[in-house]
Amino acid sequence: MGKLFTRDTQAIFWNNNKTAIQRMLDYDYTIKRETPSVAAIVAPTSSNKFEKFFWGGDEIMVPIYKSTAEAKAAQPQADVLLNFASFRTAYDVTMEALNIGGFKTIMITAEGIPERLARGMNAYARELGVVVIGPATVGAIAPGAFKIANIGGTIENIINSKLHRAGSCGLVTRSGGLFNELANIIAINADGIAEGVAIGGDRFVGSVFIDNLLRMQENPDVKYMILLGEVGGTEEYKVIEAVKSGKITKPIIAWCIGTIAKYYDSGVQFGHAGASANGDMETAEAKNKAMAEAGIHVPATFNDLPAKIKEVYEDLKAKGVIGEIEEPEINIIPKNRRPKNFICTISDDRGEEATYAGFPISSVATPDTGKGIGDVISLLWFKKQYPKWATDFIETVIKTVADHGPAVSGAHNAKVTARAGKSVVESLVTGLLTIGPRFGGAIDGAAKYFKYADDNNLSPKEFLSYMKKEGVPIPGIGHRIKSLKNPDLRVTGLMNYAAEHFPATPLLDYARTVEALTTSKKENLILNVDGTIGILMVDMWRALGYSEEEINEFIESGTLNAFFIVGRSIGFIGHVLDEKRLAMPMYRHPMDDILYDVKKAEKID
């Protein structure tokens, strides 16, 4: 109860502020957190999917999302939003997060959010029970558990100021710059802090002194509190009330800075936007006096604050309220760290035996393992162990597309190159280079367009007219000679397999209704083998639990074509080896097979 953060607290960081995030992760590593304190980054204009950060000497990847909603959906356990948006957008970002829900704490760093917006945002958060830290703050820290962004400064300073482990003081300041200073003073004169918050320098901030002190009163780790206020405002009087009424019983040491303001007229602005006294009651002196009268420990001057802290701390220690603190072991961050240029998330050759997505090669290679090529593809392409019906399907596809005779463009290219005396790899590559939108690409296209039509609930008729408007023949429909009466047996085989083994085939079912319409127009407008593969792959992924977005990503990144590339490579290599065996000579195309139509070039002046 009463703790702002724990060692498990994770945040969503709005804005890819790399230095601040790295500082958080360095802190996490130092205090031996198990999980990084930043679960996700929101960067609306970034096209990256993750950002690399150091974790000690290693590196980790923090996912990047385009919106808070996406980030929160992917990382529901992250209940802190670190809003590093500018003063122009910080309000919208906060309001959106409040409406999404699931955030316990929102920290806002921007200075100068329009006052009326800040007030509305703070009131809404309060109504929802969300703690707002800021605006215009450097943040908060629960030493040994969770640290926001830059608070505490460098890791060296954090350790010097004992901010790497919980002490017994609850610290609340307005100023972010003096927060560090106070933490240092408390480390020197007492045993460090248990929780600290810099509430922010703007006139209207979310959580104020009293909110934080009341929470610290409930936090068993906090044995006494230090409040560093400022000239201006009346928030300190709420603390005085709470002390008088007995709501706060733990000792408080307090000081308001800005005692100098009394010497000058209002023309001189000392410190923050919030720091301007309207009336005697808001002067630093009046507040210091009132706090002292209420029994709060108030030093004679700011320069005497360290001695006052020592006095209160020693007293609590003598009374046994504060015990000894065991110094925890910490990790030391290596001095020299180098970012890695390449990332690999599929295989690893550093151990005893190289692995495919965590599986030693020997555990999937030999027949007794029961694993086939489909399993290896599922590990290396998708980093998942697919069930047998799916790996069998993948193998069926590869076998089905392995070859289609010597006349297709890829095989022809491979053969011509082989006959020019080139090697297997060169000949194979010339064959593969023909694979694209016209050759083999129908798999991608069929998956894409049929999925689009299904996702948008287009009737077969609407789908046809949509494709007509697009000016694209429907990929995966049509065969040179085959028809409903004379079916392509490869297609029949795939469909039968799917009917028997797939949990469901919603996209194929839809495609069949489209086929019914197209074949009613022309006999040979059947669902061909490319179309059937593309469509069934989508059905496979759907049955395996992938989201529609993930499937769209597979399609866009060319994964479907990849099945064709792997399969057809088998056939191309066969044709190349065939040429080598036959020792066929260099091929020259017969001239009478070419229409020569060359006119003299016109001169352009």
């Binding site: 329009p114 003096l178 800075i257 100098i260 000392f270 700011f302």
Partner: protein, 446 residues
């Protein structure tokens, strides 16, 4: 500062611009001009015939009140309501000719306190509006604590200010109040003394006024008085402040609004203006206020909070007699920006020797920085030392340094070495020394 005062003319212009949205049941002629000389007024009359046709009222429009008691409202030549265009232009030129003394508080009609003396530069000119006292009303709105408060009174002008507690109805609204709730509450609380036939219109006007105050991001808005003649409204006198942080959203709504410095503010020294200019150009923060340039103690402190505690501590130890300036640099200024800031201060503090022959004191202070690179900012200060070392030795300057944060060891070592090399008297401390303790050291030494 987030809340900035604007001219009466601009306040009226903003309301006039949105008049039909907030006050659809009322009319306002918006006959008002802002001029800086008689010639400008005569020029304006070519476009605005009412200036020639109607008797006029002229007042300075420079953020101060009590203009009537200061004798700075022109509404009569021989008798009230007979001021012609020519008379108004002549009066403006006469008043703008030399400095005038303005009092800010009065006991009855007798001025109290010290006047401020400055030149009158801006005048607002409007038609003279004949009306009876009972047509004058008061209305204003501002933020108190976390709430918006609407003040309404059946009496306008001087009367309301002198009998505030009895005459004013105060209504407080949380930021979350809906328009319906606000309208309900205003309707139910119209001041009893408002004329019976005006009550409904008063409520309508107050609702529109409060909505305009909220929508248009005013921090303070006062009309004292406004005249209500049926559905015809005249805004006789207005005071307004805007929340300038909302400026980026209100470009269209506010139009071309200016934030003048207050009447009687000492004109800023060129050094302070140069720092302000540099501050406006950088993402970091550079602030300088000269308190007493001939004094002995100068501060160059990093951070808003730290700069305040240094000033506090100097006052605690030595009073403010010896404190020359207040200021701060923060937010990670570049080496060049820090150099410029340091040079400005060194230049100012080495112009004259201390009249009592003592050394001057330069406090280079700061808390433990969160992200500012200390060595980088100190490089800028060292470069300034190099330029001003001879002058500093000539005048006699003792330097005290205290700072922590990223790269502070290097920063402290560099500044110590540089000062030693240049023959400057320096003491250097890090985070192990209490932030303001160098003030004690500096001021306790005899």
């Amino acid at each position: 500062m987030a809340q900035k005062a604007i001219r009466e003319y601009d306040a009226k212009s903003i309301l006039a611009k949105h008049w039909n949205k907030y006050f659809p049941d009322f009319t306002y002629s918006y006959e008002t001009v802002l001029v800086t000389s008689g010639a400008e007024l005569l020029e304006a009359a070519k476009e605005k015939p009412w200036l020639k046709e109607k008797p006029l009222v002229v007042k300075p429009d420079m953020l101060f009140g009590k203009r009537g008691k200061n004798g700075l409202v022109l509404f009569k030549d021989q008798k009230p309501g007979d001021v012609t265009l020519e008379k108004a232009a002549a009066w403006i030129d006469e008043k703008a000719k030399e400095d005038v003394a303005v009092y800010f508080s009065f006991d009855g009609d007798t001025p109290t306190g010290e006047p401020k003396v400055d030149r009158l530069t801006h005048f607002i000119v409007e038609p003279f509006t004949p009306h009876s006292q009972d047509e004058e009303y008061y209305i204003s709105a501002t933020v108190v604590g976390d709430e918006d408060v609407l003040y309404m009174s059946a009496e306008g002008g001087m009367e309301v200010e002198e009998g505030w507690d009895e005459k004013v109805t105060e209504l407080a609204f949380p930021i979350t109040a809906t328009e319906e709730e606000i309208a309900e509450k205003i309707k139910a609380n119209i001041p009893a003394d408002v004329k019976e036939e005006d009550k409904e219109n008063f409520a309508k006007f107050a609702i529109g006024f409060f909505k305009a105050y909220r929508d248009l991001n005013f921090a303070y808005l006062e009309i004292n008085p406004f005249v209500m003649q049926g559905t015809k409204i005249e805004l006789l006198d207005m005071v307004a402040k805007l929340d300038d942080t909302a400026g980026f959203m209100m470009v269209e709504e506010w139009g071309d609004v200016e934030y003048p410095t207050a009447f009687g503010m000492e004109s800023k020294s060129p050094e302070v203006e140069a720092i302000e200019e540099a501050d406006a150009k950088t993402g970091a923060s550079l602030k300088l206020t000269l308190l007493k340039p001939e004094a002995r103690i100068w501060t160059m402190v990093a951070g808003g909070g730290a700069s305040v505690v240094y000033a506090d501590t100097i006052a605690d130890f030595a009073g403010i007699e010896d404190l020359a300036n207040y200021g701060e640099y923060s937010g990670g200024p570049t080496t060049g920006e820090t150099k410029f800031y340091a040079e400005t201060i060194l230049d100012l503090m080495t112009r004259e020797k201390d009249p009592k022959g003592r050394d001057k004191i330069l406090i280079i202070g700061g808390a433990i920085a969160n992200f500012t690179d200390v060595a980088k900012t100190f490089t800028g200060i060292i470069q300034a030392f190099e330029k001003y070392a001879d002058k500093m030795k000539d005048v006699g300057v003792k330097i005290y340094v205290r700072r922590g944060g990223p790269n502070y060891e290097k920063g402290l070592k560099d500044i110590k070495e540089a000062a030693d090399r240049l023959g400057l008297n320096i003491e250097v401390y890090g985070p192990e020394t209490h932030v303001t303790d160098i003030v004690r050291m500096a001021l306790e030494e005899k």
